[in-house]
Amino acid sequence: MLPPAPDTVLEVRDLRTFFRTDGHVVKAVDGVSFTVRRGETLGLVGESGSGKSVACLSALRLLPAPPAFHPSGRILYRGHDLLAAPERELERLRGDRLAMIFQDPMTSLNPYLSVARQLTEVLEVHKAASPAAARRAAIAMLERVGIPDAGRRIDQHPHQFSGGMRQRVMIAMALLCEPEVLFADEPTTALDVTIQAQILELIAELQAALGTAVVLVTHDLGVVAGTTDRVAVMYAGRIVEEGTTAEVFANPLHPYTRGLLASLPRIDAPPRGRLDAIPGLPPDLGHLPSGCPFHPRCGLATDRCRRDRPPVAAVSPTHRAECFEAEAAR
């Protein structure tokens, strides 16, 4: 692999996040590496159970341990390994240099506190801002994320906002300290498409203005196509394909990526009779199949795929996939 570029803000190396649950070990993330550069958006795409959310939660060390544990891995933020850092250092970084937004804004907003209280706290803790300065900055950020009448609404409670507006409040809170890395976990999945378009545009605008690196977790290949620079496709806890967004969509290497793209009904193409569905189900992470984790659902699987882990095959300096077939076609 190439050495990380100088403007790399986050580098994840060989991350493993396992969970011990009554007798089993569930391998939610099983050897994942990626980097994100300043101002860049990396899409982590996959289905439920692929490990995309767990990878982000691990990076911020937000998972309760036990049951979570990390048999291997380093998460380097500006050279500091977050996995090994003391909790106090993480508290200093979280919400300031590293921020996260979730699918459900009520996961990060406290229903009992006014929006003002929640937004100013971030600035008072991390920036030692005076109450008056924090309130001014919070109102300015609410205006920036498109909340009308922000000076009045800041004193309301989360339940007084609609779903789309709550999402904006959460984004405002995450961006108040101008973080270097923003983890966005399905930030628009619960929203209607016309509101999704507004929120994605907002994240892109703020990112461009602040130079934030964004790790966007999503299952929606349309959102990936429109908003990411690079994409990592996850399956069963592994990144099975990674490349620039243009490369992956123009020339998907992994049969799983190809399968996902082929299975989508599309409004920009004539309708087909049947969709090319991927057969079968994603594997049980407590009982992963031997060899390539995708082989039970793969139309190209051979005996070798059932036996051995496929190597990483790179077709360009930026585009690679874990697949024997992709390696042979190289």
């Binding site: 289905e47 016309t194 989508l264 920009d268 090319d276 569905a277 189900l281």
Partner: protein
């Protein structure tokens, strides 16, 4: 296209109003939500109508009111010519189905969004699928078990799993059980309410294919309710777009996506992200300002006027009627008869 004279389903001016909990001690100024504010459509035998719209647009309520799972406040629902909206009786101070509506369950069924919430976790697949057969006295003993096994095969479930419980199945398999239960009585009309939105992408295609195959093999008539326009277009012959309790546009599925005329339909189509970075980044997107108004307090005039980029004075005052602008294409917009609106950002590329 020639259609039989009488549609299987004919819905006229359907309205559903939900009273809100009374405010204050004496219930002064009791409010109501008009979830469905007068919708009309018909579905011919063997056809699929897609109902699409965002949350709160009334699409699910419309589906339930069509099946009489809730009593319409106004309007009519004719199923195979029968005025089924009249088949309710007052019983113990509440509205209940009369015996004719009970019997009609055999002919119309529903598939729900959440396959876990809609299956009894304490019942085996066999018990779940046998229940409707037993309720209608359709089969008993070994005969009933064979019918259950055939149903499982029809929806692509292994009949060896007949003794298993819902939690032993994946989300997609549970949705297959929900579909099998809906098919148990051999219905003619199936209303599927967001049947794939709780499922993973790779499983959604499996269920869409299953519904398509069943429609062909069994000649089902379907109402497919979803917010995902691409999925709706894939399965539907016709599509009706709903906004705040009203149909704002209805057309042939391809026509609606290729040449939408209502400004809301145009914005909705342009907001659907395309899984193609080149097209996705080069198209002009109509990003609507503002939020969906609350159905408790809908705007005057055209329900879309608060967000419409083309709003005129008249739109604030008058509700535009749904009128045919071409054969089989109806639009509810004051501005549509006049010069055509710009083409959709999607059709430009197709």
């Amino acid at each position: 296209m020639t259609q039989p004279a009488r549609p299987l389903l004919d819905v006229r001016d359907l309205a559903v109003t939900f009273p809100l909990p009374a405010r204050g001690l004496f219930g002064r100024g009791r409010e109501a939500v008009q979830a469905v504010a007068g919708v009309s459509f018909s579905v011919h035998r063997g056809q699929t109508l897609g109902l699409v719209g965002e949350s709160g647009c009334g699409k699910s309520t419309t589906g339930r009111a069509v099946l009489q799972l809730l009593k319409p406040t106004a309007g009519s629902v004719a199923f195979d010519g029968l005025p089924i909206h009249e088949w309710w009786v007052r019983r113990g101070g509440r509205w209940a189905w009369d015996s004719r509506l009970h019997d009609l369950r055999r002919r119309m069924q529903m598939v729900f969004q959440d396959p876990f919430a809609s299956l009894n976790p304490r019942m085996t697949v066999e018990a779940i699928l046998a229940e409707p057969l037993r309720n209608f006295g359709l089969a008993a003993g070994r005969d009933r078990r064979e019918r259950v096994q055939r149903l499982m095969e029809t929806v692509g479930l292994d009949p060896r799993f007949i003794r298993r419980y819902p939690h032993e199945f994946s989300g997609g398999q549970r949705q297959r059980i929900g579909i099998a239960r809906a098919l148990a009585l051999g219905p003619e009309l199936l209303v599927a309410d967001e049947p794939i939105s709780a499922l993973d992408v790779s499983i959604q295609a499996q269920i869409l294919n299953l519904l398509g195959r069943l429609r062909e093999e069994l000649g089902l008539t379907m109402i497919f309710i979803a917010h995902d326009l691409a999925a709706v277009r894939h399965v539907s012959d016709r599509i009706a777009v709903m906004y705040l309790g009203r149909i704002v546009e209805e057309a042939d599925a391809r026509q609606l996506v290729a040449a939408p005329r209502h400004p809301y339909t145009q914005a909705l189509i342009s907001a659907v992200p395309l899984p193609d970075p080149v097209r996705e980044r080069s198209r002009d997107r109509i990003v609507l300002a503002g939020e969906l108004p609350s159905p408790v307090n809908p705007p005057s005039g055209c329900p879309f006027h608060t967000r419409c980029p083309l709003r005129e004075e008249r739109c604030i005052r008058e509700v535009p009627p749904l009128v045919a602008i071409a054969p089989g294409h109806a639009v509810a917009c004051h501005l549509v008869e006049s010069p055509p609106l710009p083409a959709s950002p999607v059709s430009r590329h197709s």
